[in-house]
Amino acid sequence: MKKMKRNLPLHIMLLSALILMLIYNYLPLLGNIMAFQKFNPTKGFFRSEWVGLDNFRYVFAMPDTLQVVWNTFFIAVMKLIMGIIVPVIVALLLNEMRCIRYKRALQTIVYFPHFLSWVILAGIMVDVLSPSRGIIGKAFTALGLEAPFLLGDANLFPFTMVFTETWKEFGFGTIVYLAALTGIDPTLYEAAGIDGAGRWKQTLNITIPCIMPIVMLMTILAMGNVLNAGFDQIFNLYSPQVYATGDILDTLVYRIGMEDAQYGVATAVGLFKSVVSFLMLSLSYGLAYKYTDYRVF
């Protein structure tokens, strides 16, 4: 009883967050009933006509849907793979630097692009990636080759997305690994040094095994993102000529829902994505808990 009284303030503290979450996180969950309605905003959730699974049938009968699901999956998975490999390598390289000040300065620089919005970066990249004005285009022209149209060629577009996303996020991604690297017990290196192991051997036999658990954990946790191909980036960089390979579920939801106002159909697409993501997230958190004892809370 005394404990309950003492803990009352804790409940009060949580109240504001709970109210905000109830409205803006939980009500939308209920709003997903629109996926089973021919939703009409003037009639609202209760008087719109119920259509069962018609919206889902309609979505999967559209010629582009499977392609869009594939585009989403392809771009997202490529990003996940690059998003682990590149930061691990850069963290290892930074870790080999002995001049701590210089290393800090480089870290500060590579973290920075993470904090710029895709609106700003798209404004810059439309220039940088242009075949006629961009640095890459100029390099190709200087070599006498035809400059690639990185944002306008449907064959190249997904790779442009993977590359630019990796560029933006790799620095920020190194933070976790650098922390793990500084946490390695120095006596391990000491012992290896006495045994005559050089720098390369030390890296191979001490550094890499020591950060493997965190690399595994980050890989498992990344699995929840298999359908997150990056709406902000793609919306700001794509154009109809690359829809064939660059259109993803999120952009499709936007165009069906916000531009064509087919709310029921768009909600159905969104719900499909949410359900798949939910299953993947459950799997990844489950695995992470089982193998590394990781808990979100």
């Binding site: 003492r6 409940h11 503290m13 949580l14 967050a17 905000l20 979450m21 409205i23 803006y24 996180n25 939980y26 009500l27 939308p28 969950l29 997903n32 609202g44 850069v90 390289l93 080999e96 630097m97 002995r98 480089l106 620089i109 590579v110 920075f112 904090f115 710029l116 609106v119 700003i120 798209a122 404004g123 810059i124 439309v126 220039d127 940088v128 004005r133 933070i175 922390a179 500084t182 120095p186 290196y189 050089g198 720098r199 390369w200 030390q202 709406f231 902000d232 919306f235 700001n236 794509y238 154009s239 916000m258 909600t267 969104g270 949410s274 939910f278 958190y285 808990r295 979100v296 809370f297």
Partner: protein, 303 residues
């Protein structure tokens, strides 16, 4: 750390190791430069004359230095009006988000045996992380709560960020229990412990979360696009998205004839607008960045 460094450098610094070191320094420096140069290029363009830019002379230093593009912007009141909306949004949203997040993180940082209801509350926070309500349902909620065209549509829906709450919670957990226990013995309640014991030692994580909230709010553009019907209510990034970036994409779409893009004369003006939109992030970043690695690392490692 110092110890480790000494041991590792006193090992035989063979020729191979030295060569590797040199290449390593050069390679990582080049990578880091790629993160910086696009901004430098943008800045150089914004200070150059239109003709120098359209003939492709500008790379990392202004050519025919001029303030033309910035004076051109002075004649664009929409730009500054949208900037005002972004600032107002941050002034409203960041304090609200900080308070709500800290207040939620503290109870969640208690142990289960101490605060029995914690295990139920935790699930309320996990569900939204696992299952996204979706764009259209979220839009309908904002619309049905009457927030369309209101600044609060840019403030309230994104005020809770579970990731930030987890960062705070984990940091609070890592604070030595003795400090709080001593205060509790003196009869301090939870509010006083939070204010007088926990918060004063939590600067790194508070700075980190503050940086994340400020940058997130400054950078958001999509909510402005869908929740604001009239462009006069757009925050800065939405204004940029619709007026600058999207226009360039439309041009991209219209042309297979690539060369025409080179003649767009407002490139310097565009660069100036994009650069000014990035200035606040550039300005807060150096002050807060010294905290955020500690904040993130302490916050994501379990105590």
């Amino acid at each position: 750390m110092d110890h480790q460094r000494r041991i590792r450098t006193t090992g035989r610094a063979s020729v191979g190791v030295r060569i590797f070191s040199v290449f390593n320094y050069i390679f990582v420096t080049l990578i880091a430069l790629t993160c910086l140069l696009p901004m430098v290029n943008l800045l150089a363009i914004s200070f150059s004359s239109s003709s120098a830019v359209s003939t492709g002379q500008v790379s990392f230093w202004p050519v025919d230095f001029t303030l033309e593009s910035y004076s051109f912007m002075a004649g664009k009141p929409e730009f500054f009006a949208s900037m005002k909306i972004s600032v107002l949004r941050i002034l409203l949203a960041v304090p609200l988000s900080m308070i709500v997040s800290v207040l939620a993180a503290y109870p969640l940082s208690r142990q289960n045996h101490e605060f029995g209801a914690r295990k139920y509350y935790v699930w309320i926070f996990i569900v939204p992380m696992m299952f996204y309500g979706g764009l259209i349902p979220s839009y309908m909620v904002v619309r049905n709560t009457g927030l369309i065209d209101s600044i609060w549509a840019l403030v309230l829906p994104c005020s809770i960020n579970v990731f930030n709450i987890i960062l705070l919670m984990n940091f609070f957990r890592s604070i030595p229990k003795e400090l709080e226990e001593a205060a509790a013995v003196d009869g301090a309640g939870h509010f006083r412990i939070l204010l007088q014991v926990v918060l004063p030692v939590s600067t790194p994580v508070l700075a980190t979360v503050l940086l994340f909230f400020i940058v997130n709010h400054w950078n958001s553009w999509f909510d402005g696009l869908i929740y604001m019907n009239s462009p006069s209510k757009y925050p800065l990034q939405t204004y940029l998205q619709t007026q600058v970036v999207n226009r360039a994409l439309m041009a991209l779409e219209a042309m297979r004839d690539i060369r025409r893009m080179g003649n767009i004369s407002d490139r310097t003006g565009k660069a100036a607008q994009i650069f000014l939109a990035a200035v606040p992030v550039l300005a807060v970043y150096p002050f807060l960045q010294k905290y955020f690695t500690t904040g993130i690392v302490m916050g994501s490692v379990k105590g």
